[in-house]
Each structure stands twice: as structure tokens, then as C-alpha cells.
């Protein structure tokens, strides 16, 4: 992965080698880790199947240990079935999928951290739902996961993918940025459009603090997965429409780092500030075994 540390370098590498962005990400990682492209592909394909299993295994009756999470995706599904949703069937299905995964995580189900457990719903929500709606084959979805991983790798190098370090912008923000670029690949966009979508998505979530109630990965995490997924959808659409981010992706990532460094520690996963410090947030004490 040391072969690129910016989106600009990743795109240049892809150009130079004449390989698509996803393939450039895969080959760079294989060289670095000493694994074969085939085994890398198998690992990635397995991540997709774990995402799908988690999505299908959702049970609206399950609750988290704290009792704070569970059942909301079920409510969303009922609402979609009523046909009244403002955003229409596809987008509300993405919302339901993001809630399902977030709730699965809160209820100790098996998920794929993407890039973290708290933000695990964003990427599968948009990829699984859009791929299904548009009958996109699995191989292309796996390729899109490589694109997401490449964007995440750049963010991790230039800034952070940890709420404790840079706030929620680094978790939900990074997930949205990765998912936006992945969606552009899914829909046949160019490398420039992927990078642009990544920039657009993260820009919208800069400054987001990490303020989990009771220090638990539940409130606001589960519902922020919806925010991340919706931001990814709109950013991919804007990018494919030809709308430019005036600030390039790499500079957006650097801005996130700067903002994270200035963020007070009470707003970086300590559960001491923001929503966690509200009167209601404070009343949610941690359960005991």
C-alpha cells in the first residue's frame, strides 16, 4: 500500500499500468502483502458474502445488550411496504439496509468492519441494494469493494479511520466517501469520478463528532449509517452528473485530519460530550452482566 498515499497517485498508477482503479488497488496490496491476486479476490468475495448473510440474517425482534438498539429496520420496512416513503422504494430500501446492518452490529451479530464496526452499514447498504436493483453481477460488486478499500487506505494514511482519533467524520465520513467511490465504479464511472465522489461525500460529513451515548456503539451510530449511505448515494449521483468538487479528494482528507486534531477529546469516542452528555444520554447507564 506504500505504492500510493493519495487519490492522485492511485489514479496515476492506474493510468501508468493500464489497469482499472480496482485492479490497481488489488495488485498493490498483493505485492505489499505477498499474496496472490486470486487469494485476494477470494478474501474480498468472502467479505461480500458475510455482508449479505448479515443483511439476510437480520431479525427485528433482537435487541442489543443495553436495550438501546433493535427493531428500527423493521419499522422502516413496514413503512416502505405502506408505499408512503418520501424517498421512494430504492432509496428507502438503502436506508432500511443501513439500519439492518447497524442493528446487527449492535446486537452482536457477525459483520464486516467497513472501515469500522460502528460504520459497518454504509457500504453494504448502498452496494447490495443498488446492485440488486440494477441486476449488477457480483464480480462487479467485489471490484467496487476494492475501490472502497483503496479510498479507505488513502484516508487511513492521510488522516484516520478511527473515531477515537478524528471523530465520527473518520468512521461514518470515511465509510460514505469509500461507498460513494465504490458506487461510481458499480455504475461504470471513471477513476476521476470515483475520486470526485469520495471528495463530495466526505466534505458533507466533515466535523462530525464521535459522541456515543454511554460509550456504546449504538446511539447515534446505527442511524448515522443511514446518513452515510444517503450521502454516498447523492455524492455518486452528483459525480456521475458531472458536478465537480472544487476541493480535490486528497485535500478534503487532509482537512479532515486537521479538523480531527482540533476536536476536543470529549468528542472523540470518550462518551463524555455531545449526545452522550445530554440529560437523556446521561440517563442511559451501562448495563451489567
Amino acid at each position: 500500500m506504500s505504492t500510493y498515499s493519495s487519490m492522485a497517485e492511485l489514479l496515476a498508477l492506474s493510468e501508468k499500468n493500464g489497469t482499472p482503479v480496482w485492479e490497481t488497488v488489488r495488485l498493490a496490496d498483493c505485492a505489499e502483502q505477498g499474496i496472490t491476486p486470486e487469494s485476494s479476490w477470494e478474501t474480498m468475495k468472502n467479505l461480500l458474502s458475510v455482508m449479505r448473510q448479515a443483511d439476510r440474517g437480520y431479525d427485528r425482534r433482537h435487541r442489543s445488550m443495553s436495550g438501546l438498539s433493535g427493531g428500527d429496520a423493521g419499522l422502516m420496512e413496514d413503512y416502505i411496504a405502506s408505499g408512503k416513503s418520501i424517498l421512494g422504494p430504492l432509496v428507502s430500501r438503502v436506508m432500511a439496509a443501513a439500519l439492518r446492518m447497524g442493528e446487527c452490529n449492535a446486537c452482536m451479530k457477525r459483520i464486516v468492519a467497513a472501515p469500522t464496526a460502528g460504520a459497518c452499514g454504509v457500504l453494504p447498504a448502498v452496494l447490495l441494494t443498488v446492485a440488486e436493483a440494477q441486476h449488477i453481477p457480483d464480480d462487479r460488486v467485489v471490484e467496487a469493494l476494492y475501490v472502497a478499500a483503496g479510498v479507505g487506505a488513502v484516508i487511513a494514511q492521510r488522516a484516520s479511520i478511527s473515531g477515537a482519533e478524528c471523530g465520527c467524520q473518520a468512521e461514518i465520513g470515511s465509510a460514505a466517501s469509500m461507498a460513494a467511490a465504490a458506487l461510481v465504479h458499480l455504475l461504470g464511472g471513471t477513476g476521476e469520478q470515483m475520486s470526485n465522489a469520495a471528495a463530495l461525500a466526505l466534505k458533507s460529513l466533515l466535523g462530525l463528532v464521535c459522541d456515543p451515548v454511554g460509550g456504546l456503539v449504538e446511539v447515534p451510530c446505527v442511524k448515522r449509517n443511514v446518513t452515510g449511505a444517503l450521502t454516498a448515494l447523492s455524492s455518486a449521483d452528483m459525480s456521475l452528473a458531472g458536478i465537480q468538487s472544487r476541493i480535490p479528494a486528497d485535500e478534503v482528507f487532509d482537512a479532515m485530519r486537521e479538523i480531527g486534531e482540533k476536536m476536543d477529546r470529549t468528542l472523540r469516542e470518550t462518551g463524555e460530550g455531545g449526545l452522550a452528555a445530554t440529560p437523556t444520554g446521561r440517563r442511559r447507564t451501562n448495563p451489567r452482566e
Binding site: D29, N105, M108, A113, I161, V217
Partner: protein
């Protein structure tokens, strides 16, 4: 860092540090005590103590002690499974100075009555770091092949142990040696470039004054 640190790990939620990392901690204690743990006393510190229960940290630690991996769907039921398997456990809290906020001090006893006390932290991403074994300071993650040797402090034992590795063509990348007092208990932690084969363990165990040899080969944690 690999792209599968960005997408991944596959894990049982909700938290990579408080759940997946806690499973890894339990696994390392299992390896260090050797055999089948029958009793464990787990003291939670810092954020593990304050938010652990809501993250399933206690269940994750017990799951790791039984050798489950972080993606094992039995983790939420680990307490019940431990009862069936005859692993008795108790929890408490402890204040650890200078330790990372996500830490635990775990004492485990195996079916042969052997005991180990391990202090470990989970800084994030499901990674862990052991900072203490049997009261002696240490620092290792188990992400590279690692050999942990507990022994008496005797003249020349370090070179005898490293001699075994050299004879097997295994390159050391890091060597830590600690002792309780001159002639007291000693702890040696050796990180290596190659997988550590079983015959290394046998050869080192045969050296006089060596009490316990543990091999940690990444990807073989739960065996």
C-alpha cells in the same frame, strides 16, 4: 497495513476494540496458560470496566478463553457455553496505572493446575497488546510469530534459547528479556520473521530451568 485492515475484520459486533479485541485477549491468555482453562478471574480496567458490559466485552473475553475466533457467532452465548464446558469465571474491576483505557488483567488456571496472569490492552481495530505476563512487563501483539519463554533467571539461558532458534534457521526481529530479581523468575519474548515450528518448543522446553514455552503463530491462535 493491508486493504483487509480497512475492509474487515469479519467480526461479531459491536466494537472492534471492546468486542473483537477482547476475544483476541482471551485467546492469547488461553495460549499462554496452555491446555484447557478451567478457572479465570478477569479484572476490567478503564473503558472496559465502564462500557464493557454494553459492548459484550465480558462475553467476548470468555469466548476467547475457550478459543473462539472474533467472528464466532457463539460469542453472545459464551457464558452458557463456558458453564457446559466447566470453565468457571469471575469478573471484577481494577485500576491500572499507565495502561491504555481499554485494558484487562486476566488470571487463568488450566486443567493441570498451571496458572498465568496476563495484562493486555485493545487499542482499536481488533488489535491487542500484551503489556504484562506474571507481573513482568512485556510488549507484544501476536501479529508476528512470537515465542514466550517463562523460566528461572540463570546465567547463559538467553543464548541457549536463541541458539535453538538459530539452529532452526529462524530469524529474530525483536528480543525482550525481563526478570523479577537476580536469580528470580524471567520472561523472554522473542518475535520472529518465520513461523515457529513445534520442534523449537520441544527443544527449548528441554533446557533446564525453563518452565513454560508458548508459541504464537498468527492465524493459529485458537488451536
Amino acid at each position: 497495513m493491508s486493504i483487509f485492515d480497512i475492509l474487515g475484520p469479519v467480526m461479531v459486533g459491536p466494537s472492534s476494540s471492546h468486542t473483537a479485541g477482547a476475544v483476541r485477549m482471551g485467546q492469547i491468555v488461553r495460549r499462554l496458560v496452555g491446555g484447557e482453562p478451567v478457572r479465570a478471574k478477569i479484572l476490567l480496567a478503564g473503558s472496559f470496566a465502564s462500557t464493557g458490559a454494553g459492548h459484550g466485552t465480558p462475553r467476548a473475553l470468555v469466548a476467547g478463553l475457550m478459543g473462539f475466533d472474533p467472528d464466532d457467532e457463539r460469542i453472545p452465548r459464551s457464558f452458557e457455553i463456558a458453564k457446559e464446558r466447566g470453565l468457571a469465571f469471575e469478573f471484577g474491576t481494577v485500576t491500572l496505572r499507565d495502561a491504555h483505557p481499554n485494558s484487562a488483567l486476566i488470571t487463568a488456571v488450566n486443567d493441570r493446575g498451571e496458572q498465568v496472569e496476563v495484562g493486555a490492552s485493545s487499542p482499536g481495530g481488533g488489535r491487542i497488546r500484551v503489556f504484562e505476563v506474571d507481573g513482568l512487563p512485556a510488549s507484544f501483539s501476536g501479529e508476528v510469530p512470537t515465542l514466550i519463554v517463562r523460566s528461572d533467571d540463570m546465567p547463559g539461558y538467553v543464548s541457549r534459547v536463541t541458539g535453538v532458534l538459530a539452529a532452526q534457521g529462524i530469524n529474530m526481529s525483536k528480543l525482550q528479556v525481563e526478570r523479577s530479581a537476580r536469580g528470580g523468575r524471567a520472561l523472554m519474548v522473542i518475535e520472529c520473521d518465520q513461523r515457529i515450528p513445534y520442534r523449537v518448543k520441544t527443544a527449548i522446553t528441554a533446557i533446564e530451568g525453563i518452565h513454560k514455552v508458548t508459541r504464537l503463530n498468527p492465524g493459529e491462535e485458537s488451536k
